[in-house]
């Protein structure tokens, strides 16, 4: 574990990579086990003496552990630096915030790019298929290793929200509260369909080489970029795209060819090319698969409320965005209905915005107010 505060950082942060011993492999839903488990994580703030102020932040599909500090891979600010920070809803002065990189990821946690202990080379496609529950199990191992018995809150948006729901189903006794933002209790046919487009784009790239591109010294950059472009459209709303780009052209006049004439084309191409610099194609395959396999009710006889039966002591906050068509409000309402049916204490708000699914990364005053209110009252209820 290489811990320690980073210089030049306003908030106190720590973290590193937790390496679990060989006798503590991660047992996966598929039946396989993952030896030499590594979980990369960042922390912000300090754990209090009673160990009651820990908040676990779960990231979305292409996120990572750098939630509130500069991402060393991109040099850009953390993905949730509008929520975590001094004077913000998750203030490191008050909370001990932990963000991990999910397993299957490519930012330090065990994933398809990690070395397979059997061969000494990158797993590639011999990496076992993982699920959201597997990601959560790895997080639970880390939380335990950090000496934390109960989390004050587990919070996340999109895939992070699904991890939050999984936490509530699998480890309710370790949670005081749970905040699920812009998520769904299962992946819909449309969700799976979009992911399949992305995966096919990657696998159609000749440089993918059946997943063994690393050994060949190449990367399926074109395929991964196209996957990102398709997915990125689903994160935005139609009105937001229209407002931002409309039919605006890059240059005066049409090129009468297939250059990026329209600004929206250029924007998407940029999204695609900048993504491949920071993300691994096989990780993209594995994590999208985990999302597609996600159906929280399935393990509970198809009844979502059953998944939350043991979570009656957890305070839930479910949030959706009005213009999110990837995981629309109706999905969040299904979650709330199930929580109510299970007798859980649940709050729900639909944030009015035209920014689509990605609104949870952006400055939304209503999101800020809601999170602030929920965390403050939760902390008070916990006696902080």
């Amino acid at each position: 574990m290489d811990a320690g505060a980073e210089p030049g950082q306003e908030i106190e942060s720590g973290g590193g990579t937790w390496r679990f011993p060989a006798n503590r492999p991660l047992r996966l839903d598929s039946g396989a086990t993952l030896p030499n488990l590594e979980v990369a994580y960042k922390t912000y703030g300090r754990l209090n003496e009673t160990r009651t102020n820990a908040v676990l932040v779960c990231h979305a599909l292409t996120g990572d552990q750098h939630a509130a500090s500069v991402n060393p891979a991109t040099g850009r600010p953390g993905w949730w630096d509008n929520v975590i920070g001094a004077g913000l809803p998750l203030d490191p002065e008050r909370y001990f915030i932990i963000a991990t990189n999910v397993i299957g990821g490519c930012m330090g946690s065990t994933g398809p790019a990690s070395a397979d202990p059997k061969t000494g080379r990158a797993y590639g496609l011999s990496f076992p298929v993982i699920t959201i529950a597997d990601m959560v199990r790895a997080q639970a191992m880390l939380i335990e290793a950090l000496g934390i018995e109960t989390l004050l809150a587990v919070v996340g948006g999109s895939m992070g929200g699904m991890q939050v729901l999984q936490w509530a189903a699998d480890f309710p006794e370790k949670l005081f509260s749970a905040v699920c933002i812009a998520a769904a209790p299962r992946h819909s046919a449309q969700n799976i369909a979009f992911h399949e487009v992305g995966r096919q784009a990657i696998m159609a790239d000749p440089d993918w080489r059946g997943g063994a591109y690393e050994a060949a010294g190449v990367r399926p950059e074109k395929g991964l970029a196209v996957a990102r472009m398709a997915a990125h459209i689903t994160y935005l709303s139609e009105p937001a795209l229209q407002r931002k780009f409309g039919r605006e052209l890059q240059r005066d006049g049409l090129s009468w060819g297939f250059d990026a004439d329209f600004q929206v084309e250029s924007y998407l191409r940029h999204q695609g090319t900048s993504f491949v610099d920071r993300f691994d194609a096989n990780s993209y395959l594995y994590i999208t698969r985990a999302l597609d396999y996600f159906d929280l009710a399935a393990k509970h006889g198809g009844v979502l409320a059953e998944a939350f039966r043991k979570a009656r002591g957890v305070r839930f906050c479910v949030l959706s965005f009005s213009s999110d068509w990837l995981y629309p409000t109706a999905e969040s309402r299904d979650i709330v209905r199930a929580l109510n049916a299970a007798g859980c204490r649940a709050s729900f708000a639909e944030i009015e915005t035209d920014k689509g699914h990605d609104a949870f990364f952006l400055d939304e005053p209503q999101l800020d107010r809601t999170l602030r209110g929920f965390f403050a009252s939760t902390a008070q209820a916990r006696g902080l």
Partner: protein, 233 residues
């Protein structure tokens, strides 16, 4: 304690300590907060406005953003001891459905309705020949949120039709303390400005929380129609 609406005082009196309470249209959570502090209730709010929802969350209340007309189906059957709908039944699109939903979700409903049979209304309509604008219902007809107005008599008729029992009723008028009434009393339909009802399903046996305990020595209306009725859900 801060100054609160007279109906809040009455509701506070009615609700059993430690009860599970749903407040439909809970606004900024003032009533729920009061009930939580004074009666240690396990409270849940339903509120349509984002500002109201944020205010509830900041108070530490559990609140679901939603619409009483549409979203009562969020809540399972008999999940609460009380469902409260204070002064907004007449603003619902389907008051009849909402009322029966309240009594699906909860064992008892606390509902207040402005009485359109109040003498001020009648006099105003008689004298001016226009839709009344009074202190209880101050908006002009074209902008009023009160789209389903009724008299006390209309309301007790609907309760009868839905097989609901009036466990208690009190008249509320502009800042004065609540006055327990028989809602079927001939004069009350003239003189009660707003009425607050405690309702339950008629077919239920409810040994606890008898109306007599709640309203002291006040004589309460006998349930009409002695014949046992089919329990409607």
């Amino acid at each position: 304690m801060s100054i609160f609406r007279e109906d809040f005082a009455e509701i506070l009196r009615l609700v059993r300590p430690g009860a599970r309470v749903l407040d439909v249209g809970c606004e900024d959570g003032e009533l729920l907060d009061l009930l939580t502090r004074e009666k240690r209730v396990d409270g849940q709010g339903l509120e349509i406005s984002p500002a109201g929802v944020s205010a509830c969350l900041a108070k530490g209340l559990a609140v679901v953003q939603g619409d009483g007309d549409r979203d009562l189906d969020h809540f399972p059957t008999r999940a609460f001891d009380y469902a409260i709908l204070s002064k907004t039944l007449q603003q619902m699109r389907e008051p009849r459905h909402v009322l029966s939903e309240l009594l699906r979700i909860a064992d008892q409903a606390i509902v207040s309705v402005p009485n359109f049979g109040h003498w001020r209304m009648r006099m105003s309509l008689m004298a001016r020949g226009r839709m009344p604008e009074t202190r209880a219902l101050p908006d002009p007809w074209w902008s009023t949120p009160n789209i389903h107005l009724c008299t006390l008599r209309d309301f007790t008729d609907l309760c009868r039709e839905l097989d609901l029992r009036v466990d208690a009723c009190a008249a509320l008028s502009g800042g004065k303390p609540a006055r327990p009434i028989d809602p079927n009393g001939p004069l009350e339909n003239w003189r009660s400005e707003t009425a607050l009802f405690l309702l339950s399903r008629r077919a239920e046996d409810r040994p606890e929380a008898t109306p007599q305990n709640l309203f002291g020595e006040v004589e309460l209306p006998k349930p009409e129609g002695a014949a046992p009725r089919r329990r409607r859900r």
